[in-house]
Symmetry: none
Subunit: 380 residues, 2 copies
């Protein structure tokens, strides 16, 4: 575990990057099929296997590759075998794949790393050829039909090299991540598990605990629900069986985060009780939690994967008709100003919308001047 | 409090619906300005007032009405006065507006109902002409520039009639909600507060408690964050001061929900500790919470109440440099296709972004064809 790099995560060390020419994907669910699709786009030969032959057939039908013959890849071991199975199944599948000699290198893409690694050691798997990894991506939906070749585009792909590893296999797994257009990041399995407990596993349980309060709620209460509640609880719709496996496979780190969240909520509840009893000062304790929450949420990188960039926002009122946005962007482009992001607010029924243009702060003044000069109603 | 109606909430009884012909909106933030915009669309004369004259001026500039003259509405009292101010400010503003004789009927749109009502009683406000209400809507952003005339479209608008109320004022407030295209729902102030604690106020504190764990997290951990964490914590970005007011104003009901969520999380954390210690059966307790969470989330009605607008999404890969978006929108505009919304995903380090263009479904094919013909890599 080395020092964090600039973007907050460790840049991949300068290992070689060996692009795999062929791959076996074991487990053609959402992640496995998406890996396969991404590799196919990259010209890699892909063999597909799943306990459920229909799933492998469907993935093949989506263009993700060819079903793996019973005898293994016809041309001999594939460069890389990707085990896209639940955490608790990784070690057994690894042992099976290695005993069949399916590949030169092996990796898994499970969302927990210490447990499969420990089990792989217990099963005496070959650790020279197995490099655990985890692409940080996913969707609410599951199964091959939800797969996308661009699922990993720009996302981190955590690689956890082992002391036992053959360097070439690390390079192959790095090449796999690059072929999937992800950003390879190296860290230890323990560090990975601690971090995903915080940003993924514990939030799932928190969403479930909030959503659980709705189970017996009056129907009228649910009719009042808005987008906020939907967002907070959305991921609680995920497969409970799969998430129980993930949380159990990462029990220590996840439990620690949940205990801290529970303590903060207990503290806030006690403060609100005192407010209800007339102690106005107790509201401070609630404010403190909300302030910390805002500070925390502001640390999440703004875009999917990149470091946070602080842009200035310029608001422009635009007529809601074809061509107006073009005119707006033309004016910005003519001035050499790159619009980093844009959001459009329509007021239904009104013939205008408000475009919010994100630009580098040092360009905001110039953009306002350029647009105002062309007659746009504009404000920062 | 009568029996729940079909939609799970009480249908508005068959009170008369009196459409207001004129309105004063006090407080031109997000909600007040949105009410004003909706009323203007409906042909209602709207007068705008805000402690900050610039805010009222901006709202007027957006077409939300006319700034209220110092002497009040020139043609005498407006049919309805809408107090769009924070919960703790409602009663004082009500007393002030009533003493100025600004309207025939009065309502507020604060997200808590029992507290302003109690304070209005304490201030000896006229309760014949004051019917508390609350449109269930809102956005992360605040201020008049974020306002939209369709903010309440299809959303519930809770109306809490009082024993003291003049029936015509109840009808006027009902007419106000209908003019804003909302769905009037009647319930008691106590019932309202209990329900919004569950679906709005407690979720906010839960999001904050999860987000607070990120405050001191390793930067590398945050680089691994995905959409799930963003969704769970999104509302924690809301103004802490405003939310402390709301939670404090609804302290009893909110505190009760938070204590239950904390207890469930504490229980799950203890179960995970036992799993980490080798007690595999303890995973059952975690599964039980996840199952209850899934049951709860499945009870939330699917959309934000209103008729959903389904746009088709067209993805276009664009070089990340000035002028490219202009070229893109120019092509769409030339073809007479209105882009309803646009989102841009940057992959940090890559020289391209993915623009997601929302268009009416029947235009998506044409847009793809137009863009592809001009050489854009495009897909639906």
């Amino acid at each position: 575990m080395s020092a964090p790099g600039q973007a907050g995560s460790q840049a991949a060390p300068r290992v070689g990057v060996i692009e795999p020419g062929s791959a076996v994907v074991v487990g053609t669910g959402l992640i496995g099929t998406s890996v396969a699709l991404a590799l196919r786009e990259h010209g890699v030969t892909v063999w597909l296997q799943d306990r459920d032959p229909q799933a492998a057939k469907l993935a093949a039908g989506l263009g993700a590759g060819t079903e793996l013959p019973a005898g293994g890849p016809p041309d001999g071991p594939a460069d890389i075998v990707v085990l896209a199975v639940p955490p608790a199944a990784v070690a057994a599948e690894l042992a099976r794949a290695q005993s069949r000699g399916l590949g030169t290198g092996y990796t898994d893409v499970a969302s927990v790393k210490a447990l499969p690694l420990r089990q792989a050691r217990e099963l005496h798997c070959d650790l020279a050829s197995y490099v655990p990894s985890h692409p940080l991506s996913g969707r609410e939906r599951s199964g091959p039909a939800a797969a996308r070749a661009d699922l990993f585009l720009g996302r981190p792909w955590v690689i956890c090299p082992l002391a036992e590893n053959d360097a070439d296999v690390i390079s192959l797994v790095t090449g796999l991540s690059v072929a999937c257009q992800a950003q390879p990041v190296q860290m230890s399995a323990a560090e990975h598990d601690q971090w995903v407990a915080l940003v993924s596993h514990a939030p799932h349980a928190v969403a479930a605990a909030m959503a659980a309060r709705l189970e017996l709620a009056a129907p009228g209460a649910l009719a009042l629900a808005g987008q906020g509640l939907r967002d907070v609880t959305r991921i609680a719709a995920g497969d409970p069986g799969m998430w129980q496996q993930i949380l159990s496979a990462n029990a220590g780190p996840s439990g620690r985060v949940l205990r801290q969240v529970a303590a903060d909520l207990q503290h806030a509840a006690a403060a609100l009780d005192r407010v209800a009893d007339g102690d106005d000062l107790a509201g401070k304790d609630v404010a403190e939690l909300l302030e910390r929450g805002m500070a925390g949420v502001s640390r999440i990188p703004g875009k999917r994967g990149g470091p946070p960039r602080d842009f200035a926002i310029v608001q422009v009122i635009i007529p809601d008709r074809p061509g107006e946005l073009a005119r707006l962007f033309q004016a910005a482009g003519d001035a050499g100003i790159n619009i980093e992001d844009v959001g459009i607010e329509h007021s239904s029924g009104l013939p205008v919308g408000v475009a919010e243009l994100s630009v580098r702060p040092e360009l905001a003044g110039q953009l306002c001047a350029v647009l105002a000069a062309e007659g746009w109603p504009v404000r920062r």
